[in-house]
């Protein structure tokens, strides 16, 4: 019983990075830019947040700096895909490897590796936190409670505002959007910056609120899982949130099993998030309506006045 309470209580903590990263990816990809760089940008956010935390000790500042750092690095990606029209797969992969190298180097040279930082004290959502069995779900750090609000904001932006409509138009049919007087590259740049900031926030969450220290390559493929999550959420933020909760459940279960003394081969247990990602991708792909809802111009560079 205790185990289930703890497991459910820890789930949001593991789910938030997936949700934020997937949300950032959706924002970028809805504007038609294939964003494979999430893994790298999460690392940048995580490292920046730890650095700020060690220097200033304020979680708010750290998370803001994580967003800023990821957005700045994503300018490199924007330069590659928007100005230089590099294949977006190559640009995304290069960005991931660039960020892995950069954060590994800086983390060691600045001596930020393995330095624990203080966590954020939890907020209790009072009447709900007294619930039996489910109570612990409502004792979380502030960013967990803000995550659904961030999702709501993004959904409202994409579906209820003219700017959001224009952004989706840019992702669906850039030629038509351009003819209607919408700046395709401008919208894509903003989408990349905003999406990357959210991905950086996810990374910062992992380093300063969840694990509370920096190790090289600490995101461990979560960025790639987020990319897969976006594919099987069909670019819908709410479905991505649900998927993030699923992966949060799985990741939260791993330490609980170990604590409960269940004798399972440790490394097979560690494989589960990746195996589940594979399984879900195959399951989704074998269903109907495979490419439904994918932004029409995803991954295609926009070039005005040019024959194809």
């Amino acid at each position: 019983m205790d185990m289930i309470t703890n497991w459910l209580g820890n789930t949001p903590d593991f789910a938030v990075p997936f949700a934020l990263a997937a949300l950032g990816l959706i924002l970028t990809e809805r504007a038609g830019v294939l964003a494979l760089g999430a893994e790298g940008l999460m690392l940048v956010g995580a490292l920046a947040a730890i650095g700020a935390q060690l220097a200033y000790g304020s979680h708010g500042v750290s998370l803001l700096l994580a967003m800023g750092a990821a957005a700045v690095v994503s300018l490199l990606f924007a330069l590659m895909v928007l100005v230089l029209r590099i294949n977006q797969v190559i640009a995304g992969l290069a960005l991931v490897f660039f960020c892995q190298g950069l954060t590994g180097l800086l983390g060691t040279l600045l001596d930020w590796t393995n330095k624990p930082v203080k966590g954020q004290s939890a907020i209790e959502l009072w009447p709900l936190s007294e619930l039996p069995l489910l109570g612990k779900i409502f004792v979380q750090n502030p960013l967990v409670f803000m995550t659904p609000l961030i999702v709501l904001t993004v959904v409202a932006f994409l579906t209820r505002t003219t700017t959001g409509l224009r952004m989706r138009a840019v992702g669906e049919n850039p030629q038509a959007a351009d003819a209607a007087g919408i700046s395709v590259l401008g919208f894509r740049l903003v989408a990349i910056l905003a999406g990357s900031a959210l991905i950086g926030l996810a990374g910062g969450y992992i380093s300063v609120l969840s694990t509370k220290l920096w190790i090289a390559d600490m995101t461990g493929g979560r960025g790639w899982i987020a990319v897969a999550l976006v594919i099987f959420a069909r670019w819908s933020p709410w479905k991505a949130l649900a998927g993030a909760l699923l992966f949060g459940c799985i990741e939260a279960l791993i330490p609980q099993l170990a604590a409960a003394g269940v004798r399972l081969p440790q490394y097979f247990v560690l494989m589960t998030p990746y195996a589940v990602t594979l399984a879900v991708m195959i399951w989704v792909a074998s269903g109907k309506n495979v490419a439904g809802n994918q932004p029409g111009a995803l991954g295609i560079p926009f070039i005005r006045e040019e024959r194809r």
Binding site: G101, L102, A228, Y267, M281
Partner: protein, 378 residues
């Protein structure tokens, strides 16, 4: 087409001569697609991009604490002109060549094989299993290990390509996820049943002397000729064999290729499997050639290197040999920087990423030119 262009250009030139030059900011510029660019200009542009990348890398190295005067020494003199280091470079180059070729193969089939590390790990696990289970007589042990490495690497590449062709599962993510599975399985073995009982470190027992790749002459490991032979086979496959011709069809236009009777799916599956097998051989070379046992991090850095070599070599196996040699120099220099200047090995990955970004960017200048648009025009 030159004849058509020339009058227009002449007209422009005469216009430009007549009109006074507009101030700089009011001039407009337009991008044009070049029809083609002579190969030597392409080489110049790529060369400049590489120089820019190396310049940025050098600046980062200096900022990280390597004395500027030592850079040339570390990266060129101490890697090529020192007999001991040259051996190390050649040794390092052999698995590099194989992962680079594996990358070339997969990219020729338009398959983003990011699972090179996983396939390498399985190749190494296969080879080590033959050693630990003592399969076959000692004389046949090395060939059996090689065969097991090929089989395991190939098998690990099968699922992503089949799922890609049958269900359109994105191979970038599936191969990466399979890497994580392979890494965790490797750790499971090394911290579990395959751990060397005589040591507290997570690695397998040392191979027998006859299970290690011999040194042929002058201290050069058998890994080097093996890698060259595989490279020649790859060259034959891609450049001369009928399969290579089919593959170019598939690469150019899968639909047309299918319509004229090329077995498109079989070609893609076969090529990706060969790619996996080559990565498996690379794993075998590292374990049986360099380490002499299965270790927990032998594969690190090879996955990206393979993709980078294939990208820089434009999927050409001969060019891949050259680029792999340069990458091996970078690796050897990176290790010595780690020892002498405490610079983490991530530096190598950063330099590789910078080089890729610069060369990928140079493509833009090969395909486009910037033309000034006259004020009245447009």
């Amino acid at each position: 087409m030159n004849e058509q262009v020339r009058p227009v250009m002449l007209e422009q030139v005469s216009q430009a001569a007549k009109q006074p030059k507009p101030p700089l900011l009011s001039r407009r510029y337009a991008l044009e697609i070049r029809q083609q660019l002579a190969w030597h200009w392409q080489a110049v542009i790529i060369g400049l991009a590489l120089l820019l990348g190396l310049g940025i890398s050098a600046a980062i190295l200096v900022a990280a604490g390597v004395p500027a005067g030592e850079l040339l020494n570390e990266f060129v003199v101490l890697t090529v002109f020192d007999a001991q280091s040259l051996k190390a470079v050649l040794f390092q180059a052999s698995p590099m060549i194989l992962v680079g070729l594996a990358g070339c193969m997969a990219f020729r089939a338009k398959f983003w094989n990011l699972g090179l590390e996983g396939q390498m790990i399985w190749g190494a696990i296969g080879a080590t299993a033959i050693s630990l289970l003592e399969v076959g007589p000692p004389a046949l042990r090395l060939p059996l290990m090689l065969a097991a490495a090929i089989g395991c690497g190939l098998a690990w590449a099968l699922a992503p390509v089949v799922f890609k062709l049958r269900l359109k599962v994105n191979e970038i993510i599936s191969t990466l996820m399979l890497n994580y599975l392979a890494i965790n399985f490797l750790l499971h073995l090394l911290y579990g049943s395959w751990k060397d009982p005589r040591s507290s470190f997570p690695y397998s027992p040392q191979f027998q002397p006859f299970e290690r790749l011999p040194e042929l002459f002058d201290g050069i490991s058998a890994a080097v000729p093996l890698a060259v032979v595989v490279a020649l086979l790859a060259l034959w496959f891609l450049g001369i064999s009928r399969a290579g011709l089919y593959l170019r069809f598939v690469d150019a236009n899968p639909r047309v290729a299918g319509a004229v009777g090329v077995p498109v799916q079989k070609m893609i599956i076969g090529t990706v499997l060969i790619s996996g097998a080559m990565a498996g051989i690379a794993g075998f070379l590292v374990t049986a050639g360099q380490e002499g046992r299965l270790t927990q991090s032998f594969y690190q850095g090879y996955g990206f290197s393979g993709i980078l070599i294939a990208f820089l070599a434009r999927n050409n196996p001969v060019a891949a040999l050259v680029v792999a040699l340069l990458m091996a120099m970078l690796f050897v220099a990176g290790r010595s920087l780690q020892v002498f200047y405490q610079i983490p090995f991530s530096m190598v990955q950063l330099i590789q990423a910078i080089l890729v970004i610069c060369v990928a960017s140079s493509d833009f200048f090969i395909r486009h030119r910037i033309r000034r648009v006259q004020g009245g025009e447009s």
